[in-house]
Symmetry: C2
Subunit: 311 residues, 2 copies
Amino acid sequence: MLKALAIDIGGTKIYNTIVNELGEIKSEVEKRSTPKTFEEIKKVLSEIIKKYENDADVIAIATAGAVNNENTGVIGSTGNIAEGYSNLDFQSLSKKRVFVENDANAAAWAEHIIGASKNCADSIMLTLGTGVGGGIIVNNKLLKGKNGAAGEMHFKMYPDKRRLCTCGAYDCFEAYASGTGLKKTAIEIIGNPNVTTYDVINEVNAVLAHPEKSIGILKTEILQAASEDKYVKAFLKWQDDILAGCIGLANIFDTCMIVLSGSMAEFVDTEYIENELNKEIVTTYTKVRKATAGNYSGMIGAALLSLGVGI
Amino acid sequence: MLKALAIDIGGTKIYNTIVNELGEIKSEVEKRSTPKTFEEIKKVLSEIIKKYENDADVIAIATAGAVNNENTGVIGSTGNIAEGYSNLDFQSLSKKRVFVENDANAAAWAEHIIGASKNCADSIMLTLGTGVGGGIIVNNKLLKGKNGAAGEMHFKMYPDKRRLCTCGAYDCFEAYASGTGLKKTAIEIIGNPNVTTYDVINEVNAVLAHPEKSIGILKTEILQAASEDKYVKAFLKWQDDILAGCIGLANIFDTCMIVLSGSMAEFVDTEYIENELNKEIVTTYTKVRKATAGNYSGMIGAALLSLGVGI
């Protein structure tokens, strides 16, 4: 069975492991901090590849930043990774073939092949973490766009400049639907600049654990009953902002399924989102589910793509 | 040369003509009012087809409503057309092959083959009229989605329920970027419920004709200098709402070009939209242009698709 040396290069961590063509992880997952300079990143990658390339048929890299349509490198600037990274010649690091894909695109492919959306020709994965990532699959192919940068979830939630996004523009979906977005929404609603994402989640969990309210009632309904609590109110606003974005995507794409992944996805009531979304859209019934391909879906998806699985 | 009998079925008018595989209109364009009942629509279509089917190799229908992925009929309800229309068996109307596509998708294909976006593998056409239509081309193919309904420009401009859209939901792009949207924006800003889209356009044209302001200055810059005029202010807000929507689409799709068509497109300063959009997006340079395939692009596009041109 064919295998890939899979490497996930994020802004803070670099992971690597061996993944086979069934999407199974076949060796211990190694974790390193992402170095601050381009040269050090290159050195770390070289070490990993030298050590493991003989165990694999191909090197599969999932990386932060937009990846070109040839799957050989990163285009333009990539935000939170070292300057010069976009000039990295990945192929020069190995004698085996090196395949590169954007991390969110790779994770979307893992969901498409072995995860939540595996029977869907059309799906959209949203990664809700510190920021928001996106991977879009149209007719069993990754949507890449003219230069490979498609799937950026920077569409506007307001047209009149309220909240600055990390991208430098205002009011992108990312600035509302991310963990950082929840924090900002909570600060606005609670009026305390020191409130954190965890404070909100803790308070919401406390309300959800209320025994009298939880019998046979959906999670969001319990929260709606307690919406005078400002923490709950902030949480519900955050979730409704995610809903608003999903409605737009469902109308634009008539997709089969929206998959929510990332550290913040576990807090979202996907049943509520799916119900409300389908009341509003003008396209056809769209499912909303949580990701199931696991924490290493970026590496798994990059491995599957590099091995041609599903292509 | 192969030819199609092209028919455009809209909510108010039905047009027909003969179109060849170069996208050229080869006979007089006939125009009829769209009847109010399903049976009458069917009768009108039968008459047109009986009269002209021998002059064509295929019947190409551009229609209001979402069209299935088999291009044989309309799915679900279609808003402003007679009840029962979605049950119409188009193929039963002719002995020749009958091909059906959504009117905005067809028009986008016309732009893609013979119009503004003809050298782009990826483009998005927005039809700005009484409502807003959309047609999206990804890697030289129409984006249809799981059931053929993709391209609906009903993504939210606000997440907090301000303006009702014709689709029954709130704050869709259509409710802001359409001609009706301009009227509503003008009513809000001017504070007069009787103001019309034409009043706004007339006032804006009067400002643009001011000789002292028009030398060597972009259209939008002239208007910005006169933005204390509430009509001008409403117009600029409308144009900026279109810009906001285009920014989201450019980030989601990394498309080559956004093409603006429809009766309201002529009033938009596409140079301004293109400049501002490219200052904000995180994907790659995206052009914004006006449509060039003309008034009958729906029929032309349906004809080209039915004849397999570009597929």
